[in-house]
Symmetry: C5
Subunit: 106 residues, 5 copies
């Protein structure tokens, strides 16, 4: 999976019937160390992600293994919203959400 940041939305009215009704988000891959933005990708959102959130993207046929995307012409899906990551024991990113609470799960 690739770490990415949601940066925008993509709107389409003329789509293959199999992909209709999905929320399409625009993302940039994230360098986990420097947090710099990388390549762009458009993904179907399976978890209710919003702009500025860090997420994980599954690509290829694995993008079709969520309930929402099964048998769809979709090659990238957001399958997790990221709360925290560490490199060499150092916490690089932590998302604090007062509304939903926060507890570490590894």
């Amino acid at each position: 999976m690739q770490l990415a940041k949601v940066v925008g939305t993509v709107v389409s009215n003329r789509k293959d019937p199999n992909i209709g009704g999905f929320k399409l988000l625009l993302l940039r891959q994230t360098n986990p160390e420097t947090m710099e933005d990388g390549s762009y990708v458009v993904a179907v959102d399976a978890v209710g992600a919003g702009v500025d959130e860090y997420v994980l993207i599954a690509a290829g046929s694995s993008a079709r293994q969520t309930e929402m995307t099964k048998n769809r012409p979709c090659d990238a899906v957001i399958m997790a919203i990221v709360d925290q990551w560490t490199i060499d024991g150092r916490q690089v990113y932590e998302k604090f959400s007062p509304n939903h609470g926060y507890d570490v799960e590894i």
Copy 2:
């Protein structure tokens, strides 16, 4: 999925029987921020796209999940024509079509 711009057509008379009869379009990947053209790719058109339109391409096995491309030796399909995209809340591209009307769907 990748954002791309239709730039041309590809004609072939000698094809594998499983791919016969498809419209093959030549596309360039689009940088969503600068709108600059990137790499070329040839894709089957599943939505009736035309030259100069911005579209979404699904690649790999996901390219075979439209009615048109099922079980075909096709690794890239145009599965959506793009009407609009935004980055950081700013609208980067909007396609206005007086013939078909236009309404935002996210």
Copy 3:
């Protein structure tokens, strides 16, 4: 699919039984605008292509969707010989074949 030019052949006597008997061609990806050669790839030939011809390659699992390559350990197949392509309305390449005639199909 990727546009590529057939540049050579690859010979192997010791192969997995599932891939035996196939013609393996050496190709270089083609820049559709400048016609410059790019990366090399080896593909199974499903359409009877020859050296110097421009072809389309399907990669990944899509390379197994021809009659010839079904269930084979093959990740690239030539599934079309290209007769012509255009960019921005300009014809970049046209193959003329006096033996087989030539008519445009889009």
Copy 4:
């Protein structure tokens, strides 16, 4: 497969139900000759790997061929912990583990 080094962990509380409960590790691809770190990737851990261990990652649909990842939206899995590798007959890396013993298997 790609040789990679485990460098950290990724925590997510809001995931697609199909990927829930997995340990997600952050890895960097390893140059087998220079041992330099390369690109980052996030993978599901199917073998109990830990930070600083060298592992093999299977990507794409092959990442779903372990018991743990079957039918999951997972496009990268750690399917082996590496004990040793050689280049041109020279042993580049050897992991010595006094707890588990060590014997070469090729």
Copy 5:
């Protein structure tokens, strides 16, 4: 498929049960024209290849289409040992093996 040269071996004692018992080889992609070494990849050996031999690698789901690798978490397989290749009619590489004889098959 990609042309590659076997340069070493990879040893792992702790593997996913589905991948146990396979010979894992370390390879470098080969530039077919200059014979220069490129990127590294680790592949399962389905044909009995040895160090310094030139081989073909099938990647992705196609790597699971040999008897040996069916349903395994394996994304790269050596499915052919290469005896010869040509570019523009010129023979770039020929492997001569006095033990096994040699005859050209296209």
